[in-house]
């Protein structure tokens, strides 16, 4: 009930339209990796998935942000079942990669933001290495590039009230780590796959 309410609210405020450019919605295990410009990103990608995919998919989000107050904790735990990771001070015990691999081992799909933080100007920052390690550990999982548009105008960094413009979420063609592909090459290819989804 609450889930569908939040999905409806997110869809209304962000006017999200999902464009499946490179693949169709599918229940198979996937890692959706997207550009990150707004706190609404995780919610919006998650809400734009059809229900049968959404139920299997968990956004990966920063623990420091989502544990800050009761509402956020409630949203993260009970609404979109986020995988909360430590991004400020990762330790051997608090390794984000372990949490993500654990969720994948439970047969969940993931939504991740490999830039590591929100980009104020909307430009794509270099991807962090975690994406590569996930791809290396789980060659059976499909990695789907996702481009989120206009969310930085709907809720920019530093603002707390959203403006209801039309956002867009585009899903590209799934990719996997190729044999012998090194980290830098894979991350570069992944980043290009996201920016290639720009319509113009």
């Amino acid at each position: 009930m609450m889930k569908s309410l939040f999905v409806a609210v997110a869809r209304f405020i962000c006017g999200v339209r999902a464009r499946w450019v490179g693949c169709a919605p599918d229940a198979r295990q996937r890692v959706y990796f997207a550009n990150h410009t707004s706190n609404l990103d995780a919610l919006v990608v998650w809400a734009s998935l059809p229900p049968f995919v959404r139920d299997l998919t968990r956004p990966v989000a920063a623990r420091d942000y989502w544990m800050k107050n009761r509402l956020r904790r409630y949203l993260a735990h009970d609404v979109f079942n986020a995988v909360l990771i430590e991004r400020k001070r990762p330790t051997a015990r608090d390794n984000p990669l372990t949490d993500m691999l654990g969720a994948l081992a439970d047969r969940h799909s993931l939504i991740i933001f490999p830039e590591g933080g929100r980009q104020a100007d909307g430009e794509l920052a270099p991807f962090k290495g975690g994406l590569f390690h996930l791809a290396k550990d789980r060659p059976d999982v499909e990695f789907v590039p996702v481009l989120i548009e206009n969310l930085n105008r709907i809720l920019p960094k530093g603002e707390f009230l959203p403006v209801p413009l039309l956002g867009g979420v585009s899903f590209g063609a799934p990719m996997k780590l190729e044999a012998g592909e090194v980290k830098a090459a894979f991350l570069d290819r992944a980043q290009k796959a996201v920016s290639a989804l720009q319509p113009s």
């Binding site: 006017g15 104020a120 603002e159 009230l161 209801p164 413009l165 039309l166």
Partner: protein, 318 residues
């Protein structure tokens, strides 16, 4: 405000339903005949448009039946959706964020609220008070880059998507001698003539269109479409004089103004789309594009129709 559903309203509604049935049948017949790839695509789009028309007529009918409140809500929501499409296409900066919040969540509802109570402040809320407020709020935010351009764009969006469109439900506040409580038919008349004109321009343009009016703006707008569309919509509008306070000749004049303004609106909004490099403002209405693509002609026709009717027919021109 008490709007009675009279016999004339029934005729209007019945006529529109008849038109829809007829066009659905034509669309179905065309779909059987279309053979070429391009022809099939055109007919498919046509049928999507007709299906969307059914839905739009149903929503509009519901708003009419609920009187001023329903109409204000319908056009308020329509303005909100159109404004969102417009601002999405307009480059704004983070410095405009809070201004836009005010625009969407205070100015738009306030404009329609003023029409609903009704208080005539709605004539100047956007042209004067929003006009002054928007640059002040953006200046406080402190971003000077393209300041004039940004505030002008937001103001323009408000004028077209909200102010102009709000004249449609504002028709219900007109006090016309011998036409008390019947203003809903006036609103019906405006929307019907404006939309029929769009449809007829499309039909004439698709069948006979050769000579483009402004090829750099819109390749679909031709002289044949314009003349055929204006003539047939004016004819239909004239034939509806019995539902309005106008004589047949006056009705012809009103319809003519509505269709010409509607054409101008379509052309202007196409120029903006062309400049921004898009075909449609959105994708909310199947076959038509966005909300703004459907109401552009109405936005330009409504204020002129309101003022002409108010000036010549209202009891105490105010």
């Amino acid at each position: 405000m008490n709007l009675k559903i009279d016999r004339q309203t029934c005729w209007l509604v019945g006529g529109v339903l008849g038109l829809l049935v007829l066009s659905s049948l034509i669309g179905w017949a065309l779909s059987l005949r279309a053979t070429s790839e391009a022809g099939r695509a055109t007919v498919q789009n046509l049928n999507a448009r007709i299906r969307a028309w059914w839905l739009m007529v149903a929503i509009f009918g519901l708003a009419l039946a609920t009187g001023l409140i329903g109409s204000v809500i319908l056009f308020g929501v329509t303005s909100f959706l159109a404004l969102r499409e417009f601002i999405t296409l307009t480059p704004t900066r983070q410095g405009d964020h809070r201004t836009l919040f005010w625009v969407f969540f205070v100015i738009v509802p306030l404009q329609y609220y003023l029409i609903a109570i009704p208080w005539r402040l709605y004539f100047i809320l956007i042209p004067v008070y929003a006009f002054l407020f928007i640059p002040i709020r953006s200046a406080v935010a402190g971003d000077c880059t393209n300041f004039l351009e940004r505030t002008a764009k937001i103001q323009w969006a408000l004028m077209v998507c909200v102010y102009c469109l709000s004249y449609v439900p504002a028709l219900l506040n007109l006090q016309i001698n011998g036409y008390e409580g019947q203003d809903a038919k006036l609103m019906f008349y405006l929307v019907l003539v404006a939309q029929i004109s769009d449809v007829m321009q499309y039909v004439w343009g698709k069948t006979l269109g050769r000579h483009k009016i402004a090829p750099t703006v819109s390749p679909n707008k031709t002289w044949e479409g314009l003349i055929g569309g204006v003539a047939s919509a004016t004819l239909i509008g004239t034939g509806l004089w019995w539902a309005t306070p106008f004589s047949p000749l006056q009705s012809a004049g009103m319809s003519f103004v509505i269709t010409i303004m509607g054409f101008g609106g379509g052309l202007v909004m196409s120029a903006i789309k062309r400049d921004r490099g898009v075909k449609d403002y959105g994708s909310m209405i199947q076959g038509h594009g966005g909300v703004l693509d459907r109401i552009d002609s109405l936005c330009f026709a409504a204020p002129v129709f309101f003022h002409l009717t108010g000036y010549f027919f209202e009891r105490n021109p105010g």
